[in-house]
């Protein structure tokens, strides 16, 4: 019996070693860094152990701005993109003609490069001395005053960021949801049809519960992804995100490590641990909620 156990551990050893070195150790290390005050990466020394890094980060207006931006981004984009993806997927599922074509079109953003598309978005939304940008031109038709979405007021910039984020995450969600919808047994719909169920009721009482595991999967991964947003903001507003008030938590961590104000691994670690705590908490809440609502 003991021998058997030993053998088992032996088989697991490569995986454990790999995970330990490349996943657990860095996590623990970051955790340790976050409590080492005044850590110097060149000399690998610190003044001592304490919570100063956290209190610094939590008082840093740039961090608070990043925190606020991230939360707004999460709260707006996750529900909106999921609902939108669901609507589009249901639509796709109910058409027969040109379905493959539309599916391809909707999936295209997924295979394009974030930064390149960000540039296009910037051109569409940006107001320059020479042009108002396409979006402003269109807004002008409806009698609205042009706004600089890239360098203008906070709400306009946030709008572009959310819009862009939703646009980027949509294809994957649509893909997953269309396959989930397609895998619902047609007999359920036939049974409901024979019983004279209205379309809306079929959707609410049959379709939605049937694909609820997928929907919750998308919501959970959506939350995690949105909390870790960074490249989207860079693509639209450039690398100096603090200046444009558009920084995210991950952006703040990056700045603390390598940005203009770089060279503060302890602050970066503290910020990273705060983000980790937030994501973990939200994910746990999500899982608890989903247990109540996901049916099997």
């Amino acid at each position: 019996m003991e021998r058997e156990k030993l053998k088992g551990w032996l088989y697991l050893l490569p995986a454990i070693l790999f995970l330990g070195i490349f996943m657990v150790y860095p996590l623990v290390d970051v955790f340790i860094y976050s409590f080492e005050e005044g850590y110097n990466s060149a000399s690998q020394t610190s003044w001592g152990i304490g919570t100063y890094n956290y209190s610094y980060v939590l008082r840093d207006p740039y961090f608070l701005q990043a925190l606020k931006n991230t939360f707004i981004l999460v709260i707006i984009t996750v529900p909106l993109s999921t609902c939108l993806a669901l609507a589009i997927a249901v639509g796709l599922n109910s058409i027969k003609k040109l379905r493959d074509l539309y599916q391809t079109i909707y999936f295209l953003p997924y295979v394009t490069n974030t930064l390149a598309v960000g540039l296009v978005f910037m051109i569409l939304f940006k107001q320059t001395p020479y042009s108002d940008g396409l979006v402003n031109v269109v807004l002008g038709w409806f009698g609205m005053t042009p706004v600089d979405f890239i360098g203008g007021p906070y709400w306009a910039k946030m709008f572009v960021l959310c819009f862009y984020t939703i646009w980027v995450v949509l294809p994957f969600k649509i893909l997953i949801l269309t396959s989930a919808l397609a895998s619902v047994n047609q007999d359920y719909y036939n049974a409901a049809k024979v019983d004279g169920t209205s379309k809306f009721r079929i959707f609410r009482k049959i379709t939605l519960p049937m694909i609820s595991p997928t929907v919750f999967y998308l919501i959970i991964t959506g939350f995690i992804g949105a909390f870790k947003a960074y490249s989207d903001a860079v693509a639209l507003f450039g690398t100096d995100l603090n200046a444009s008030e558009m920084n995210t938590i991950v952006g703040y961590v990056y700045d603390m490590l390598y940005g203009n104000s770089g060279g503060y691994p302890s602050y970066a670690s503290a910020a990273a641990i705060i983000l980790f705590t937030i994501v973990l908490t939200i994910t746990c809440i999500n899982l608890l909620v989903s247990k109540k609502h996901v049916h099997y």
């Binding site: 007999d187 036939n190 049974a191 409901a192 024979v194 019983d195 004279g196 009721r201 099997y296």
Partner: protein
């Protein structure tokens, strides 16, 4: 409610694009189902029985022909307006709803004047559940039920709004042998109690024969024979029906009619009134053999299977038209068969012998002597 099918035809476009020919799933189905009977649609897979059921439920629309429920033409009526109850082969119970919610589902769809109050719904649901004897499982999810229980829930859901017609698609195929026996009696009982015209589809002839008032035998979309199970069994119109009904299946021989006698191989097994001589198929039901030392039909004895009530004699005859030439005859266990003997001889019961045309495989009728 009686159901009338008038020249009902359903064709599907061919999957193979090179072949323009359409697939005829149901071909010119003409039948009037009397009120309150249990009808079994019977046939091998791909014979169009499920398509017929879908046409009745309204999930599919016929290519031509008409369907009447009572006096109403429902041919172009959508499924939800036909008032049918349908039980799917895989039951299609909503897995996220409890038994109670599943059964209540059709009632909650009712609109306008038909709308029911919560109490009325509960009463009806309980009634339906009691009818199929699942009233103790109301708060379970389908996943927590056995196959037989799921089947009952599916029937209760189909019955709860008191449909004009109940349709069952292969209702017993997902159940094990013992449960199948039990459930088919259950279906019979429920049908008798509710008196709802019920049509069910099956490929199992025993199932269809045992509980149906009327069976409809189909093949390749064409109705072969309609009638009471015993009548169809005793009087098949063609070789297909004769072969399809009965376990063990009918024994088929190459035979001929020659000068007023029916021959199987070289043995003249009985006299018949026929003027012309010709080659025929001879079908003899397993119970149509009588053991007789001087019998007309001589077969090579293989084995004897004892089944208690009767014994089954397996023998060979060169004239047999089945693949392995085996002949199975069932005789009363009061007879004894000498296993050491090389040959066994039978006489035949004339009413268990059917003669079919060699080309058309249609039954040839004549006066028996």
């Amino acid at each position: 409610m009686k159901v009338v099918l008038q020249n009902l035809t359903k064709t599907f476009p061919s999957r193979n694009k090179k072949v323009k020919e359409e697939v005829v799933a149901v071909n010119n189905f003409d039948f009037e189902i009397p009120d309150g009977v249990l009808v079994g649609l019977l046939g091998p897979s791909g014979c169009g029985k499920s398509t017929t059921l879908n046409l009745l439920s309204g999930l599919q629309k016929p290519t031509s022909g008409k369907i009447f429920f009572g006096e109403n033409d429902v041919t172009n009526l959508e499924a939800e307006n036909r008032g049918v109850g349908l039980v799917f082969q895989n039951y299609a119970l909503y897995p996220h709803l409890t038994v109670r919610q599943n059964i209540m589902f059709p009632l909650q769809n009712l609109k306008g004047t038909a709308k029911l109050s919560k109490e009325e719904m509960n009463v009806k649901v309980l009634e339906a559940a009691k009818l199929v004897q699942i009233d103790e499982l109301m708060d379970r999810k389908p996943g927590e039920l056995s196959g037989g229980q799921q089947q009952r829930v599916a029937i209760a859901r189909a019955l709860v709004k008191m449909p004009k017609i109940l349709l069952l698609d292969e209702p017993l195929s997902n159940l094990d042998a013992r449960l199948r026996l039990q459930t088919r009696e259950e279906i019979r009982r429920i049908q008798k109690e509710t008196k709802i015209t019920t049509i069910f589809v099956t490929h199992d002839q025993e199932e269809a024969m045992s509980i149906s008032d009327i069976i409809v035998v189909m093949k390749d979309g064409v109705v072969q024979q309609i009638g009471k199970p015993q009548e169809v069994y005793d009087n098949p119109v063609n070789l297909f029906v004769a072969k399809f009904l009965g376990t063990p299946p009918i024994n088929v021989f190459d035979g001929k009619i020659k000068s007023g006698k029916l021959f199987v191989g070289e043995d003249a097994i009985m006299d018949i009134q026929a003027d012309t001589d010709k080659e025929v198929y001879v079908g003899i039901r397993p119970e149509g053999f009588v053991l007789n030392e001087n019998g007309a039909l001589r077969c090579r004895l293989n084995t004897v299977e004892v089944m208690g009530r009767d014994i089954s004699v397996v023998s060979y005859n060169d004239a047999s038209a089945t693949d392995n030439q085996a002949i199975r005859s069932i005789i009363s266990s009061e007879n004894t068969v000498n296993l050491a003997a090389e040959y066994v001889r039978f006489d035949v019961k004339p009413n268990k012998v059917f003669v079919f045309d060699k080309n058309t495989e249609e039954r040839i009728y004549f006066e028996k002597e």
